[in-house]
């Protein structure tokens, strides 16, 4: 059974939480006691209908203000797959929570209010979807009920977004448009009676039909060592295993390997998953690898195939970043850079440009990147990192920046 991860996006009040509530409601994924709780909470708010946004807006502050502040994760499944949905906030102030929710998504649902059409958040979220290389984006034109379900409105919005979409999209990204009403359940799981002119799939139909080519197993093999297993018991006196989750590619017993950054070489003796001995393991598998020779390997090292001539070792490189902290990014500052599980110091040598998300143009010569801004930086790390270019191997090309003093995660970067 596979898992499909989805994240919502779009401006505040566009109906993201209502949409997710509706999707769960119509797939009978909400139990009776939870529906009763929603009814009570809706009544308390003085509403005469079921406010489905209350299903995910679970914090006291969110319910008081009627907005989403932090990402909520919510689950449902169909006979074909399990869905993990991240319902994210639309308010620009909470973009970092939106990025948190979107970072694992394979489908981004970007909502647009049919009355307003494209707004700045639409552009920002399309840029973020592109930055994260989310393979599918469904632009949901919501609240169609408020524009009399007119085809012309939908077509106008679609046309107005074409130019922007053309600029943000990358090769292989699927983009589609869908007219919906989250409040009245039009085109969510059932064809919209109110919009007979729309011949496309429903939202659930599109999700069920979506298959993304899982390229990770074919990407270059990367095994970051998380933990060294040394039981030192009688039965396993000499056992020394390297535990980790393969981030991309495939490893087989007998493969000649190289350890980065030390460059030492050896051969895979066993690949183990608890009591099972495997002949191979691929991207996403959490395994323990043992080698035929004793070499010095510690947490943070990356195992690659010896046959790969130029496995990456980066020290000076450029990256796209999205800034997530109130204190702006300034050149010359040192941060901790966490790439996967590996941490090293990094100095930002330069901010090369800042992206204007609406115009999709870059401004050069900027001296800071503020909260929620996207830009490009040049940086230098204390130790080399075994990162790939994000676009080529997303599972091994991203990093986070951590403030050494507050310990906060202040930015996310993508190796270019």
């Amino acid at each position: 059974m596979d898992i499909l991860r989805i994240a919502t996006a779009g401006s505040v009040d566009d109906g993201k939480s209502t949409l997710i509530g509706r999707l769960l409601y119509e797939t009978n994924s909400i139990t009776k006691d939870k529906i009763e709780a929603l009814e009570t909470a809706s009544k308390r708010k003085g509403l005469d209908f079921l406010d489905l946004s209350l299903l995910t807006d679970g914090l006291i502050a969110e319910r008081e203000q009627g907005i989403t502040i932090d990402v909520a994760h919510i689950y449902f499944s169909t006979p074909s797959r399990k869905y993990i949905i991240a319902d994210t906030p639309g308010h620009v102030e909470y973009t970092r929570n939106m990025v948190t929710g979107a970072s694992n998504a394979k489908v981004s649902l970007i909502l647009v209010d049919a009355r307003q059409g494209m707004v700045e958040q639409t552009a920002r979220h399309l840029s973020i979807a592109a930055m994260l290389r989310i393979p599918k984006v469904i632009i949901c034109v919501n609240k169609m009920d408020l524009v009399q379900y007119q085809e012309s409105t939908f077509e106008e919005i679609k046309a107005s977004l074409t130019e922007l979409v053309k600029q943000t999209t990358f090769e292989g990204q699927e983009i589609s448009f869908l007219p919906i009403s989250s409040l009245y359940g039009q085109n969510i799981t059932k064809k919209a009676e109110q919009m007979p002119w729309f011949t496309g799939n429903t939202l659930l139909g599109e999700l069920e039909a979506f298959e993304y080519a899982e390229t990770l197993a074919h990407a270059p093999a990367r095994f970051p060592v998380q933990f060294v297993v040394r039981p030192m018991t009688e039965a396993y006196h000499d056992f020394r295993g390297y535990a980790g989750k393969i981030s991309s590619g495939t490893f087989r017993v007998g493969d000649a390997i190289r350890v980065l950054p030390t460059g030492q070489e050896s051969t895979i003796a066993t690949i183990e998953k608890f009591e099972d001995k495997l002949s191979e393991a691929k991207a996403g598998d959490s395994v323990v690898i043992t080698l035929s020779t004793d070499i010095d390997i510690s947490r943070g090292n990356t195992i690659v195939l010896a046959s790969e001539a130029n496995a990456p070792q980066l020290k000076d490189f450029s990256a796209q970043v999205c800034w997530l902290d109130h204190q702006a990014l300034t050149p010359g500052k040192t941060y901790l850079l966490q790439h996967g599980i590996n941490i090293t110091k990094a100095k930002i040598s330069q901010i090369t440009e800042r992206l204007d998300v609406v115009a999709q143009t870059a401004t050069e010569g900027v001296d800071s990147l503020k909260l929620n801004e996207i830009g490009r930086i040049a940086l230098r790390t204390a130790q080399p990192i075994s990162a790939d270019v994000y676009a080529n191997n997303p599972s091994n090309g991203a990093f986070i920046l951590i403030d050494e003093f507050s310990n906060s995660t202040v930015g996310v970067g993508f190796v270019q």
């Binding site: 898992i3 679970g58 994760h73 689950y75 948190t100 959490s286 991203a398 990093f399």
Partner: protein, 304 residues
Amino acid sequence: MNKLNDKIGHFPRQLEDESIYIMREVAAQFERPALLFSGGKDSITLVRLAQKAFYPGKIPFPLVHIDTGHNFPETIEFRDRLAKETGAELIVRYVQDSIDQGKAKEESGKYASRNVLQTVTLLDTIEEFKFDACIGGARRDEEKARAKERIFSVRDDFGQWDAKRQRPELFDMLNGRIAVGENVRVFPISNWTELDVWNYIKEENMEIPSIYFSHKRQVIERDGMLWADSEHLNKEADEIPFEATVRFRTVGDMTCTAAVASEATEIDVIIEEILSAEISERGARIDDKRSEAAMEKRKQQGYF
């Protein structure tokens, strides 16, 4: 719920890989982690995952149980056996001790429970052992405030959760850096649903305490639910115990977990019952019903 029988027994293996990864991050990033063990199916699942993560090594952190004194005896028995079998260190601290020391006060009335009190003992235990990370079995599908949790959730000196100040958590990169006095709560099965847990228990052929299966016991009926009769339950005069065939869907204290009438003695039947249940898992938790925001408020105080 969807009555889809073909969902039975399909556990998405990817979830296990992700949870094992989280377990290993805890062991690597923290100096004194602990696994909070309640004896329920979720924490039993955690122990299994920890066992797998470090095999053939032992689980490199202790199992910590905050014993309210109101636990089902079956749970305690199971706990001791599991600790012995896995070779993990077991630390038990008692809510009764916190009460005796005057740090916590027993509730009164018919809904009295020690559920809230255990936070006091938990925070004291964290301080006593200087735990910097506590692994818990909370899942995001359980409750709306839990749906907002990060996998690594930073707590301040007082164990408090500040929903508005959560760190961004991107991809699978976990930032466990904290200041002195702070600690992290870690939720490795955040993305599992109740059904995933049951399917996993089934596929792994795991043992769970007998109270999860149908059995006969003395109960009383209260607020339309069946409550296990025990010396800890404050009964009213008209609440007369009777025998019923029940099982527990979730296991907390005897005073705050309701039973469901069920004949299910096999895990497949339990899974079918869950698939067709009209009430959610925590619908049987009286502790959540105290107010709409009961969970969030308890979490702010340092509750799990």
